[in-house]
Amino acid sequence: MYDSTPAFALAERVGPLPRATPVASGDLGVRRRRSWAWARTPSAVVGIALTAVVLALAALADVLAPGDPFAPVGPALSAPSSVHLIGTDDLGRDLLSGVIHGIRTSVFVALGVGLIAFPLGVVVGAVAGARGGVVDDVLMRLSEVWQVLPRFFLALMVVALFGPGLDRIVLVLGLTSWALLARIMRAEILSIREREFVDAARALGMSEARILRRHMLPHVMPAAIVFVALLLAQVCLVESSLGFLGLSDPNAISLGYLAAQAQRFLRVAWWMWFFPGVALITIVIGFNLVGDAINDRMRGRL
């Protein structure tokens, strides 16, 4: 569920068939979300606000919730109160502290995955699109293989087989997230390869590599940035799903882990279930709205 097609916005934008190149797809790259114009400002504002809060919580986790989030500090299973704002869990650990540190873990994983997938996807896609021929064929076949097994399964297998740890979660999600980006990049490059300004650069005798770097990449960057914003949202969902299945790093508290703890206490401690989920939804909505907003703005400028 949380994988290769990143999000609705992306599906709307790049079109439905990243695998094939539709002949009559002249308008594919320049879809604008005209009808959302009225909502653009409010949703962008909400998205940016949510993301800012999330990033601030992640950055300031140690200040806002000092100490070990795993340490029991109060009575077990106490409901939200003025002492423990959103309650405690069965070991008497402060849930707010757990959620804040969990948000930090989510953000850490998301950014880590972005740092791996972004350069990999952009480079592979750009090279495939610009060079064409055999290189293109090989790279695209490769990306297809990566796409056939949904990311969630690969991540689940690797983490379950090799043991949970933040490092391998980031690594496996990063290595399985570049393929679609590469395909988007390739399609974008193809769509501008024969445009006038590229032809002009060629006529001036610029090398293909230079044309790619100086003229083509800046034009396709917006699409990559949008993809990554939406990817981050999906990564948070995958990471928490693994945590829910008991595959989170035992030494770094995460939102999925907290949700899994709640399963046993659904009837006696609703807060253990409720708040980690709300935090997660906030993160994901924030990233999604920011992705959409960037998309709108950059498309508008192009």
Binding site: D68, A71, P72, D90, G246, P250, Q263, R264, A269
Partner: protein, 556 residues
């Protein structure tokens, strides 16, 4: 153990079976069973039994197959033991009572056991049960495929004779005391020779549609969903069983099992999660049954092991300091929700005759722990964490940091211990590992500092205690001597206890063993875990263990 994570829950049966000594619902019990014994059912009941309605049982894992003789998997034993019998059963005190064997004599100082089999017992398909079935089951199945029976009985058994159809003789190379506690349906279920003869017992189709002698006969099995058993109309125990049908229903999550019980979807669950216990106790429709026998094994002690291969842990003061730093009552309160008690000796209090009651295990005392660490050369650094300063075999400046391996289901133990050890300056890093990886890492590679294991003592220390200390059991076998503890005097005492007949004499030897190992502290014996079963009225008449539904009825 109850679990917190669905994924973990699914495997609970396997986990428990893996670390437990007695797999699954645990030893056969026979209180209230009229096996020629005084406690026959009231005369008012129909002598043929039946009419007890349908019992729906929740089980947490799909068994995969229903042959308890070829595996120690808790999931299979939980689902299949009602279909089979052992030669003997075990009563509530874990003492042997007649089952397929009506009586027995012990000769040659305990080196020869002669069993007289019950008359007129038939398999569910109508074939008569004879001594040939017993001999075949042991020789071709149990001693080859049942991991525990093979490794405990196998090496000392000289041969099995069947002088006639109703007599079986076990001859041993030397006196062997524990045998009678290893013949129940968990350790030695008897299979029909006429069905398994000439086939690979691990692949026989009857494993999915078994034929036994037990109170209930197999009816159908839908993998990962349900197993239906029907009443054995020709059961050897008069007037039993009363139930007409037993349905085992796979519900992987313990919380979901409780909900299903409350909703009336099921009548019996094997374990009540701590947080739900009070609510179920208050429910007039639901009765609770407390027992030390868990579906994963009996008399289990949650045990922290120290790896003796690691220089840091070779100093007994460090091991004792760690023991002092742990608040075991916290584990009972917060992890077990009262379903257990602090362990007081290396052998479980459930084996009364072997359990030592004159031992003082290290009490919770962080101050003493810190003093001992100081003495041992581990000085507190600026942040309170301890660093080596003059520790033998450890470079100065080494931090006192240990890893802690555990099944994912036991994560709570790690989380609590990490924070308690952290308070005295010891850094614990948790490594949750699935059972197959845990077994390989701990017992084959011996690549760990500390871990936690649910060591189930079983009905006899020979079964589940010896393996923890025997120097011959260090090495690749799962759930053996995790610490790597070696003491030839202890080895000799275990052998002596194995060959001594009589609980009292054996108990004295086990008492000496416990004094020695408690002082050496290769393990921290944390808590004895107990289980709480729950059932819905009008069902009643249960026992907490193996043939738990033999005398039960759901008729109003």
């Amino acid at each position: 153990m109850m679990s917190r994570v669905p994924l973990a829950v699914i495997l609970v049966g396997l986990v428990a079976g893996a670390c437990g000594v007695t797999a699954s619902p645990s030893p056969t019990g026979a209180s209230g069973r009229p096996s020629g014994s005084p406690s026959s059912p009231p005369a008012s009941e129909a002598p043929t039994g039946g009419g007890g309605g349908t019992l729906v049982v929740a089980i947490s894992a799909d068994p995969g197959h229903l042959n308890p003789a070829i595996t120690t998997s808790g999931a299979t034993h939980t689902a299949a033991e009602l279909i089979f019998n052992g030669l003997v059963g075990l009563d509530e005190n874990l003492e042997p009572v007649p089952e397929l064997a009506e009586s027995w004599t012990i000769d040659n100082d305990g080196a020869q056991y002669t069993f007289k089999l019950r008359d007129g017992v038939t398999w569910h398909d109508g074939t008569p049960f004879t001594s040939a079935d017993v001999k075949f089951t042991f020789e071709e199945v149990l001693l080859k495929l049942h991991a525990r029976t093979r490794s405990s009985v196998g090496p000392v058994l000289d041969g099995i004779d069947t002088p006639d159809a109703q007599t079986v003789v076990f001859r041993f190379k030397q006196p062997y005391a524990p045998l009678l506690r290893q013949l129940d349906v968990t350790e030695a279920p008897i299979l029909p020779k006429h069905i398994y003869q000439g086939s690979d017992p691990a692949k026989n189709p009857a494993n999915a549609a078994p034929v036994g002698t037990g109170p209930f006969a197999f009816e159908s099995y839908t993998p990962d969903s349900e197993i239906r058993l029907k009443r054995n109309d020709t059961y050897w125990a008069p007037a039993l069983p009363k139930l007409d049908e037993v349905v085992m229903r796979v519900i992987p999550e313990s919380g979901s099992q409780v909900i299903a019980l409350e909703a009336g979807e099921v009548d019996w669950i094997w374990g009540v999660p701590g947080p739900d216990e009070a609510r179920l106790d208050a429910d007039p429709e639901v009765e609770l049954l407390r027992t030390d026998r868990n579906p994963g094994g009996s008399n289990c002690i949650m045990t922290m092991s120290f790896n003796f291969d690691k220089p840091i842990l070779q100093d007994v003061r460090v091991r004792q300091a760690i023991a002092h730093a742990i608040d075991r009552q916290q584990i009972v309160d917060k992890i077990l929700f009262g379903q257990g008690r602090v362990a007081t000796a290396p052998i479980s209090s459930g084996i009364g005759w072997a359990h030592a009651d004159d031992i003082v295990l290290p009490a919770f005392d962080p101050t003493a722990a810190m003093a001992m660490l100081d003495q041992a050369g581990w000085k507190a650094g600026a942040d309170g964490m301890r660093i080596a300063a003059g520790v033998t075999g450890v470079a100065d400046g080494t931090p006192l940091a240990l890893d802690f391996l555990h099944f994912p289901t036991f994560a709570r133990y790690g989380e609590l211990l990490r924070s308690e050890l952290g308070a005295v300056g010891i850094e614990l890093t948790l490594e949750p590992l699935e059972p197959p990886v845990f077994a390989e890492t701990v017992f084959t590679k011996r690549d760990f500092d500390t871990n936690v294991i649910s060591y189930c003592n079983g009905p006899d220390p020979e079964i589940g205690v010896r393996r923890m200390f025997d120097s011959a059991q260090i090495g690749p076998v799962p759930f053996s001597n995790a610490a790597g503890y070696r003491d030839s005097a202890v080895d000799a005492l275990f052998t002596q206890a194995q060959q001594t007949v009589g609980n009292e004499a054996r108990g004295k030897i086990y008492g000496r063993i416990q004094q020695t190992v408690a002082a050496a502290q290769p393990y921290v014996w944390l808590v004895e875990t107990s289980g709480v079963r729950a059932y819905r009225l009008p069902c009643q008449g249960f026992q907490p263990y193996a043939q738990f539904a033999e005398a039960a009825t759901c008729a109003p």
